[in-house]
């Protein structure tokens, strides 16, 4: 589904990603861990198509298509979804209107008519219930004044609405209380199927208890320096990153 080879990316001539290789197949869950500043969010943004980052080398292939030159919205239309580490506040645009617009723009890109209002409402209600989101919440301005946890839950609500093929969850667990973590993880698991894939970026094992990864990768200094199964996450939780840094720097 996703095949990244030798990906180099920089911002303002500063190299941040330095040769990433990653392959994600349908049905898989990959976890990416790594110290602060190692490039995890940058990698997510580059996959999602943020223009600020310049890809200086390598390829990103999504479903057999090189998506490197595509605009962010075109990648979204092909099924890429990024749950932001820091969701952006958009005053004046309600959650409902935003998601309606997003859904209909995705449909438009596929040559479909707007979703009938009745179906839209039903879908919104269904997904809001799945994530235990209060209906009143949906009429508020997008992310404006939302608590950290509310923002993250809202990201997964949008994911549930858009049903992407590849979802990248950038620290979706941070800011969530224990109950919210369970609800959000449940939501993600309900959406999982053999045809879609998830990349989970996290610092903690606790999310991976709920969303169990098939592979765990460690990103350090813009490179994936170690990969393993789910037990690698436990090892990191116990030992921290020093041993990996030593291995790499040696």
């Amino acid at each position: 589904m996703l095949k990244i080879e030798n990906l180099h990316a920089s911002v303002e001539d500063k190299a941040i990603l330095r040769g990433i290789n990653l392959e994600v197949k349908p049905g898989e869950v990959h976890a990416i861990m790594g110290p602060n500043g190692s490039g995890k969010s940058t990698l997510s943004s580059v996959i999602a198509g943020k223009e600020e980052y310049e890809v200086t080398d390598g390829t990103i292939v999504f479903n057999e298509e090189d998506i490197n030159e595509l605009a962010a919205e075109e990648r979204a239309h092909k099924g890429v979804f990024l749950s932001f580490q820091y969701p952006v506040e958009i005053p004046g645009v309600s959650v409902t209107n935003f998601i309606k617009t997003a859904i209909n723009e995705n449909r438009k890109a596929k040559g479909l008519e707007d979703m009938p209002a009745k179906d839209m409402l039903k879908l919104i209600r269904e997904k809001a219930e799945l994530l235990e989101i209060d209906r009143k919440f949906l009429s508020r301005s997008l992310n404006e004044g939302f608590s950290g946890g509310e923002k993250k839950r809202n990201e997964i609500f949008q994911m549930a609405m858009l049903e992407p093929k590849l979802a990248i969850l950038d620290e979706t667990d941070s800011g969530l209380d224990i109950d919210a973590l369970r609800i959000v993880a449940n939501g993600v698991n309900k959406l999982k199927s053999k045809d879609n894939a998830v990349i989970v970026i996290t610092h903690y094992q606790r999310l991976l208890d709920h969303i169990v990864p098939d592979f765990v990768h460690v990103l350090y200094n813009g490179k994936i320096v170690k990969s393993g199964g789910k037990e690698l996450a436990h090892e990191l939780e116990e030992k921290g990153y020093d041993w990996i840094k030593e291995e790499v720097d040696a």
Partner: protein, 437 residues
């Protein structure tokens, strides 16, 4: 012959046709003298520093329409708010169009200035109100000198007018360049409430210069909501001089939506003559190409315990220019005044410019005045966020711009106007999204 000379000599012709006994002839004569002395404003004047009329004044305008021009309702329906019932006062090239209009004398007067200026029935109101709040600046004086047609609206006390009133000025472009000087008078008596929509629309690409004067009087506890829709074509220039004189406890709001035209100058002046008055001035300006819109506001707080709220949002693309010059005067006696002013702007192009200038003259010591002006760009991270959810760049921009204006739009009380404005914005931004925020 330049336009000033042409106007002065036209006045002689015009004067000859007037009824010499009319009480407003003295007003006219005085006004033409004022205009003769002052001439058209130039960039040397502080208030006109950023707006030059030079180019506009070079056209050879016809001052009086030569013939009556009829237009079919179906051709111009789109310029009306047509999905609700309204009174309509419609002019074509400055002449009243009875077949497009729907006036009334049933308990209220919604009719013509030409009638009000000549018929004895209206004499008292004319004596008490006509030209009483309009100032003697040169353009207003020019209008006063030539004024003979426009909307006349008088709402006697304790009346909630059952439907909005539309004032629409069409120009047909049958002459290569036309000058229009509509003159409106709106008097709303005690406890009454009226909603008014005003629009100037040219129907061809021929040049039009409109120099309009509107006087609004809100008596005790009256409420007036006025909506100006400015979305004319690229050869149309509008100078809108609006004066609002408020008595105690009245509420007057003017919303100005400026999306089109070559050059627009809005001179909006409020005078608070009484206590516990609320004055509301709001605007959304969205410009492209070489459009130029200059908002010049004045709120004069004369008596204590009053409020004023100004909120102007502007979005400037291409090589457009926006000016906001907001003056607030608080007299020594006007204690406990609350005066708010905010002007927020977004520049979507490097070549667009905005000049924003608050002017506060405060002579009272116990007042709350706040003013703020911001100039920014569209939020890049918000753009990426929206695009990453599949909303294309153009639509994402439009949504952000709409959201930015939404504060102003949300105070529009007539849903159909809000819908219309929304549609105009969507058209202007070239998107097809609903914005039902």
């Amino acid at each position: 012959m330049d336009l000033k000379e042409k106007l002065l000599s036209s006045y002689l012709v015009f004067e000859n046709k007037l009824d010499i006994d009319s009480p407003i002839n003295d007003i006219r004569n005085e006004a033409i003298k004022t205009f003769e002395e002052k001439g058209f404003p130039s960039k040397k004047e502080e208030a006109w520093k950023y707006t030059s009329l030079n180019k506009v004044l070079k056209e050879d305008y016809s001052i009086f329409p030569k013939q009556e021009n009829a237009i079919d309702y179906k051709d111009v329906k789109k310029y009306f708010i047509h999905d609700i019932d309204t009174y309509k006062i419609v002019f074509i090239d400055g002449k009243y169009s009875s077949h497009l209009s729907e006036t009334t004398h049933d308990g209220i007067d919604v009719c013509l200035m030409s009638a009000a200026l000549t018929k004895p029935k209206y004499q008292l109101i004319i004596e008490n109100y006509y030209n009483k709040v309009a100032t003697k600046d040169s353009l207003t004086s020019l209008n006063t000198a030539f004024a003979n047609e426009g909307a006349y609206i008088h709402i006697p006390k304790n009346k909630i007018v059952d439907k909005p009133i539309q004032i629409i000025n069409f120009s047909t472009g049958n002459e290569s360049a036309t000058m229009l000087q509509p003159r409106n008078l709106i008097v709303v008596d005690e406890n009454s409430h009226v909603q008014i929509i005003e629009r100037h629309q040219s129907l061809t690409e021929n040049a039009v210069l409109t120099n309009s004067v509107t006087e609004i009087f809100t008596n005790k506890r009256a409420i007036v909501d006025f909506y100006k829709i400015q979305n004319d074509n690229e050869k149309a220039t509008l100078i809108d001089n609006t004066y609002v004189n408020q008595k105690r406890e009245s509420i007057a709001s003017v919303h100005t939506f400026s999306f089109g035209g070559k050059l627009i100058r809005n001179n909006l002046n409020y005078y608070q003559n009484g206590e516990r008055i609320d004055s509301i001035l709001k605007g959304v300006t969205i410009l492209s190409d070489k459009q130029h819109v200059d908002h010049n506001t004045l709120v004069h707080h004369i008596e204590p315990n009053c409020e004023s709220h100004q909120d102007y949002k502007g979005i400037f693309g291409d090589s457009s220019t926006g000016i906001f010059n907001g003056k607030i005067i608080v007299n020594k006696e006007a204690q406990k005044t609350n005066a708010f002013q905010s002007n927020n702007n977004i520049l979507v192009s490097d070549k667009a410019t905005i000049n924003s200038k608050p002017q506060l003259e405060i002579f009272a010591d116990d007042v709350k005045c706040s003013h703020g002006c911001t100039i920014g760009q569209l939020d890049e991270s918000a753009m990426f966020y929206m695009r990453s959810r599949g909303i294309p760049e153009k639509e994402a921009k439009a949504l952000l711009m709409y959201a930015f204006s939404n504060n102003v739009l949300s105070s529009v009380k007539i849903p159909e106007i809000k819908q219309r404005i929304t549609k105009i914005i969507a058209n202007k931004l070239g998107v097809n999204i609903g914005f039902d925020l």
